[in-house]
Every structure is written in structure tokens, then in C-alpha cells.
């Protein structure tokens, strides 16, 4: 049974039709990649999945663990196990990384009927996961995403994912803005998070991320729709030839 099932999804914002009958299924343990030209609706898909309110979903359904989630609020979707690593993470002035992580960890633990973590235990957990992503203690003392470099922002997103331990993770261009070393760190971090219980949807423009996070399936999205699916080789084809052949061919 699939963890995430998107069926014939249509979404628009104002008069702008962005998703036009998109379908996709992700089973537990699978990693899927979506590639597609700028403006094809990849980020929109990630927002609609995670429950951002600005969009008008006119048709279709989304099931998480066979539960229809389109009528559920964003926070509840997160508590059900959906995670989005933002293409452009948002700044929270005044809120330190440590405070933010502590708050989201405990809120998710309460949702799972687990006791809240306090003091040493909590700090240990955060430090351990942060170290794997080479995030320094100093960075956690700073305000969330304020003045973070592109690479720091993306690593902080993956840290949150590691701590929230979602069932389905959507990573929107997690490779953009990363230098070679950061790409390796993030790639390793995400790969470590692969598990037989988790599904991942990786949105990217480049093969370079997929060298680290090897996908089981690659989908090509154009104008709000998946027009071709295949194995890892499909990404290499895109890298070599661009989207032209897909656009013409279909």
C-alpha cells in the first residue's frame, strides 16, 4: 500500500492554473525525484501537499497513509508525518534555532503520545543530529534562518527533518545554493534518513544531488503534470539533453 498517493490533482492560484491533473504514488522505502523546467509547478506541488492555504484545489485527492489530507490543516499534516524542506526557508527573528527545535520536537512528541524531552536529553539529541550535518552549536544559538548562508539554511532544514522523523519527506531544491562540500554533507544526511518505512520526494534540477541520494524513480513534470516517469537514468538524460525532447515528444 502506498504511503503517499496523489490522484489527478488540479490547483490554481487566482486565475493561474498551476497543477493540471498530477498523479503520483510513493511507497514506503521509495525515493522519487521530480525534475522539471522553472515554473512547471514543483514548489506549488510541495505547498499544496503540505497544506498552504493560498491555493485553490479544484479537483483530485491526496492520501497520506490512506487518509485523505486535503481538508486537514498544515500543522495536523505535519503531525501525521508529512515534512517539507523549503526551497526558500523562512526567517524567524528572535527565535533561536535551539528554541525552535525544542518546540517542534516536543510538539511532535506530544502528538505521538510520547513524553516531552527536557534538558540534557533534548540537547544531546539535537547536538548529535546537528553534528551529522556539520551544524555548529553557534549556529543553533542564532535566530532561525536569519543571516544563514544558503548552505546553512538547507542543512537546517534537513536537521529539522532528522528530528521530526517524518513518514514522507518532500525536499524542494535542497541542493540549490550548496557548495560541493555542503552538497556532500546534505546528500549524506538525507541518504542516512532513507529507511524502509519512509518515502521521499526530491525536487531538483540537477543530477548532482541524485548522485548522492540515488532515487528509485524519476519523474518529469511539465506544466503541472507528470509527463514521463522512469528510473535513475531519466535524470541523466535530462542532464544531457535538457527538457526539449520531452516537450517536443509529448
Amino acid at each position: 500500500m502506498s504511503l503517499l498517493k496523489i490522484e489527478d490533482l488540479y490547483a490554481s492560484i487566482g486565475d493561474e492554473k498551476i497543477l493540471n491533473g498530477l498523479s503520483l504514488q510513493i511507497n514506503a522505502g521509495e525515493t522519487h525525484a521530480i525534475m522539471g523546467p522553472n515554473g512547471s509547478g514543483k514548489s506549488t506541488l510541495s505547498y499544496v501537499l503540505s497544506g498552504r492555504e493560498d491555493y485553490d484545489v479544484s479537483k483530485g485527492s491526496v492520501f497520506l497513509d490512506s487518509k485523505e489530507i486535503l481538508d486537514i490543516e498544515a500543522d495536523e499534516r505535519s503531525r501525521l508525518g508529512l515534512f517539507l524542506a523549503f526551497q526558500y526557508p523562512i526567517e524567524l527573528p528572535g527565535v533561536t534555532g535551539m528554541t525552535f527545535l525544542r518546540t517542534i520536537i516536543n510538539s511532535s512528541r506530544v502528538a505521538k503520545n510520547l513524553p516531552e524531552l527536557e534538558g540534557i536529553e533534548l540537547v544531546k539529541l539535537i547536538r548529535e543530529k546537528a553534528a551529522e550535518l556539520e551544524i555548529s552549536q553557534d549556529m543553533l544559538k542564532r535566530f532561525v534562518n536569519v543571516g544563514f548562508s544558503g548552505g546553512e539554511k538547507k542543512r537546517f532544514e534537513i536537521l529539522q527533518m532528522a528530528l521530526l522523523d517524518p513518514k514522507i519527506a518532500v525536499l524542494d531544491e535542497t541542493d540549490s545554493g550548496l557548495d560541493v562540500d555542503a552538497l556532500r554533507i546534505v546528500g549524506k544526511g538525507v541518504t542516512n534518513l532513507k529507511s524502509k518505512d519512509r518515502g521521499m520526494l526530491v525536487i531538483t534540477h540537477y543530477q548532482r544531488l541524485l548522485d548522492h541520494i540515488i532515487p528509485d524513480f524519476v519523474h518529469i513534470m511539465v506544466k503541472g503534470k507528470i509527463i514521463q516517469s522512469g528510473g535513475p537514468d531519466l535524470a541523466k538524460l535530462v542532464e544531457k539533453e535538457g527538457y526539449k525532447s520531452f516537450l517536443n515528444g509529448n
Partner: protein, 483 residues
């Protein structure tokens, strides 16, 4: 129906989450409604006051009658009928209590419910409490331990009798009766409050705290607090307050005077949580308070920290008069308004002495249809050589129906003085909320997280024991502010 049942029912019906909205059914001793000379004489005689105190009150009443209610603040409220208020209400049988065993158990229960256990064994470690219920102080804890150090901490009604020389010398010395309409009114009718004297060279061994509770209907609360820190002494004092949830407005017009002598320091913290009115703007406390400290001595310091979450209307400017050379005044404020609340609050820093220094950090948060105004005055007098002020005023808006206003008045009569003023206004954005929501936080948790981050600089000034409570309070007062 007895008051208690009626109110509990109301509380259950009301959607609002003000958790201190219950009232206590007690036998009370009340003066008739309205204000005239006889009421003042009655209050004075109820308290067995000496002649000089009565005269002082009567003079204040004369002054008040000639004054006009101020209208300059950016607040709107229905005209108060000063003849429709009870000026004296006291739970019966509270006179001359020697120990807690004699306190009406209903009263003790009330304070337990409010999270202020008066029983010394159960009390917060290291915090002595003076509990003021409507017009009287019902009990003061830890008095023995304090007396050993020579610290006087007692109801002001008692100090008038036991330490008349101190009261006579200092009462009205910082806030004269004619200072403003509400200080004149308070001077005429004040019923109780706390008195603190820290002798020379003593560091007060525990936090002192007064807990104010308005219980009776239609009763004004006019408390008077006087704190004197003699040379080289230190005290940290905390004031907390709540009131039952009622449909009609109630008036609270307190006066607080602080005095520091050479090298002394007073740290005064307030967590104000009077009933703010319901989500339609009905009911709530009118909080018209005059608070001022005088740094008389050199190198002395007065620090005000306030977290203002309650009241329908707040009019309040805790201030410092920096007489002594090198003296320091500080004002740290968080003022939150939601629904139909209105707050006009800020401070005055009056620099007289050389090298005096003041810091103002004000964080205003407005949500719902509320109005939140910072009004601050910094005045450098000719003698304030090399004086310095730093002011930081930040406003945070939640939603687009509320207002935030910053009104600074800055005057320098000494060219060597240095004044810095910074102000920012920001808004909690949809993006920020969505980011937090996508991490599993509810809207309320998200707002509380962002707001607590916004006011951290002020919150860290609160005594440890109270900062956790204050953080929760911020979350509660902003419930329902988004979505």
C-alpha cells in the same frame, strides 16, 4: 443566586480563556457607594489611622475635586461615574490577623487557585508574599525571616501606625497628590498596599511580592505601594494581579513610589493580568496607574520590568527621576493587546544628576482590533552632564485590524548629554506562520513562539520564578489572535 455560582456559570458560558475569572463568595464589609468627605473619614477610621493621615487624605480630596480627568492618552473608554463605585470593601474578620491559621479558608483557597499559595511551607521558595484582597492586605508571609534582617515588609495600613516617621517622610515625596487626577484620587481613598523598607547595607534575602486581587463587584481598587531602599541596599519586588471576569468595567488606580538612596537598587517587576474584557470588548479593568521611582542617592538604580497582558484600558508610565550622580534608570516593557484592549504605556526618564544613565526597551504586541501605544519621555536637565539614554521601541502586529503607535518626547538641555532612539515595526507574516505550521506547531504555538522571541530581551529581566509563568501568559493572551 450567590455571586460565586453566578460567576462560575458565566465563566463556563464565556468562550474566553481568562482562567482567573472566578470570584470568591465571602462576607464583606463595605462602605456605601460613592465618594465624599465622609467616605474618606470612614476609610481612615476603619484603618484606625492617625489624624495626620486623615488630613493628608482630605487635602488630596480637595485637590482631586478641582482636577479634570486626563484625555491626552490614546485610549477611549466610557465616562467613569465616580459616584457609582464602592471605595471600601474588605473581607470580614481580617483585622489583626496574627497567623495564617486565622485567615478565612475561602481566601486561602482563592490564592491557591491563582497559583499563589500563602502557606509558607508550600510557598515559592524565597518569595515573601503580601496578599491584597480588594481593599485590604489579608496576609504577609515570611515576616519573621525578614524582620531578622531589619527589613520591613507589611501592609501600608500597618506601617502608617508602626512606622509613621518613615511613611510621613516618603509618602507623596515622589508622586505628589496633585501630580495627576488618578494620583490625587488614590491619595484620598487608598485602602491598602505594601510598604517596604530595606535598611542600610542590607541585601533583602528573598524576593518580595504583592499579589493584588479585585473580587467585589463595582469596587475600585486603589492600592498604594511605597518602597524605600536605604544606602547600599538591594531589593527585588514583584507585583501580580488578577480580577474576576465581569461584564462591567472596574477601576484600578494604584500609586507606587520607589526611593533609592546612595548605592541602593530596587528592581520592580510587574506581571499584570487584570481581566481584559471579553472578545467583544465587554467588561475588563481600567488600569490607571502612577508609578515612579526616585534615584535620590548617587550610584543608585531603579529598574522597572513590566509584562502587561490584561486590562481593558491601560494608562501607565513607570518612570525614574535620576537625581543622584551616576544613578541608573531602566524600563523593560512588554505590552500585549488583543481583541478590543487599549494600552497607552511607556516611561519617563528625567535626568538631573551627572553621568546618569537610562535604558528603555519597549516591546508592544498588538493583535485583534486592539490599539497599543508607546509613549515615552526622555528629559536631560541642564545639570545632567554626560547623561546617556538609549531607547529601543519595537512593535509587532498580528493581523491588520490592530494599531501600534510610538510617541517619543525627547528634550535635552545639556549639550553633553547623549540620546539614542531606535524604533521598528514588524508583522508576523503568513510565511512565518506557515513555516511553523508545517513543522507541526498550531497557530497559537507559532504566535507564542514568535512573540516570546520578540520580547526575550525583556523577559530575561524578570525574576526566574516568574518568567516561565509570564511566557505562558503571553501565549494565553494571544489565543485566537490569528486565523
Amino acid at each position: 443566586m450567590p455571586i460565586q455560582e453566578e460567576t462560575i456559570e458565566q465563566v463556563n458560558l464565556a468562550t474566553s480563556k481568562y482562567k482567573y475569572g472566578f470570584s470568591t463568595d465571602l462576607e464583606v464589609d463595605k462602605a456605601p457607594k460613592g465618594l465624599d468627605e465622609n467616605i474618606i473619614r470612614l476609610i481612615s477610621s476603619k484603618k484606625n489611622e492617625p489624624e495626620w493621615m486623615l488630613d493628608w487624605r482630605l487635602k488630596a480630596f480637595e485637590i482631586w475635586k478641582k482636577m479634570k480627568e486626563p484625555e491626552w492618552a490614546k485610549v477611549n473608554y466610557p465616562k467613569i461615574d465616580y459616584q457609582d463605585i464602592y471605595y471600601y470593601s474588605a473581607p470580614k474578620n481580617t483585622e489583626k490577623l496574627k497567623s495564617l491559621d486565622e485567615v478565612d479558608p475561602e481566601l486561602l483557597k482563592t490564592y491557591e487557585k491563582l497559583g499563589i499559595p500563602l502557606n509558607e511551607q508550600k510557598a515559592l521558595a524565597g518569595v515573601a508574599v503580601d496578599a491584597v484582597f480588594d481593599s485590604v492586605s489579608v496576609v504577609t508571609t515570611f515576616r519573621k525571616q525578614l524582620e531578622e534582617k531589619g527589613v520591613i515588609f507589611c501592609p501600608i495600613s500597618e506601617a502608617i501606625k508602626t512606622h509613621p516617621e518613615l511613611v510621613k517622610k516618603y509618602i507623596g515625596s515622589v508622586i505628589p497628590r496633585h501630580d495627576n487626577y488618578f494620583s490625587a484620587l488614590n491619595s484620598a481613598v487608598f485602602t491598602d498596599g505594601s510598604f517596604v523598607y530595606i535598611p542600610k547595607g542590607v541585601r533583602c534575602p528573598m524576593e518580595l511580592s504583592t499579589y493584588f486581587r479585585i473580587n467585589e463587584k463595582n469596587t475600585g481598587q486603589f492600592e498604594r505601594t511605597l518602597i524605600i531602599a536605604d544606602d547600599d541596599s538591594y531589593v527585588s519586588y514583584l507585583e501580580g494581579c488578577t480580577a474576576p471576569q465581569r461584564d462591567e468595567n472596574q477601576l484600578h488606580a494604584a500609586v507606587v513610589e520607589l526611593i533609592t538612596h546612595d548605592n541602593a537598587e530596587i528592581k520592580y517587576s510587574t506581571v499584570q493580568n487584570w481581566f481584559p474584557g471579553d472578545e467583544n470588548g465587554k467588561g475588563g479593568i481600567f488600569n490607571f496607574v502612577t508609578k515612579r521611582g526616585s534615584c535620590l542617592g548617587k550610584n543608585s538604580k531603579i529598574s522597572w520590568t513590566q509584562v502587561e497582558t490584561g486590562s481593558a484600558v491601560t494608562w501607565k508610565y513607570p518612570s525614574c527621576i535620576l537625581h543622584g550622580d551616576n544613578s541608573v534608570g531602566e524600563f523593560y516593557s512588554v505590552a500585549i493587546t488583543n481583541n478590543f484592549q487599549q494600552a497607552d504605556t511607556g516611561t519617563k526618564m528625567i535626568h538631573l544628576g551627572k553621568n546618569t544613565k537610562s535604558t528603555i526597551i519597549s516591546k508592544g504586541i498588538s493583535a485583534g482590533k486592539s490599539q497599543n501605544t508607546y509613549r515615552g519621555k526622555v528629559l536631560m536637565q541642564p545639570g545632567a552632564k554626560n547623561a546617556r539614554n538609549f531607547t529601543q521601541c519595537d512593535s509587532l502586529l498580528i493581523g491588520d485590524k490592530c494599531g501600534a503607535h510610538t510617541i517619543p518626547y525627547i528634550t535635552s538641555k545639556n549639550p553633553s548629554a547623549n540620546i539614542e532612539h531606535e524604533a521598528t515595526t514588524s508583522k508576523i507574516s503568513e510565511d512565518q506562520l506557515f513555516y511553523c505550521l508545517s513543522r507541526g506547531l498550531s497557530e497559537e504555538e507559532a504566535v507564542s513562539l514568535i512573540v516570546n522571541g520578540f520580547c526575550k530581551e525583556v523577559m530575561k529581566e524578570l525574576p526566574m520564578e516568574f518568567s516561565v509563568e509570564a511566557q505562558k501568559l503571553i501565549g494565553i493572551s494571544l489565543e485566537g489572535s490569528v486565523g
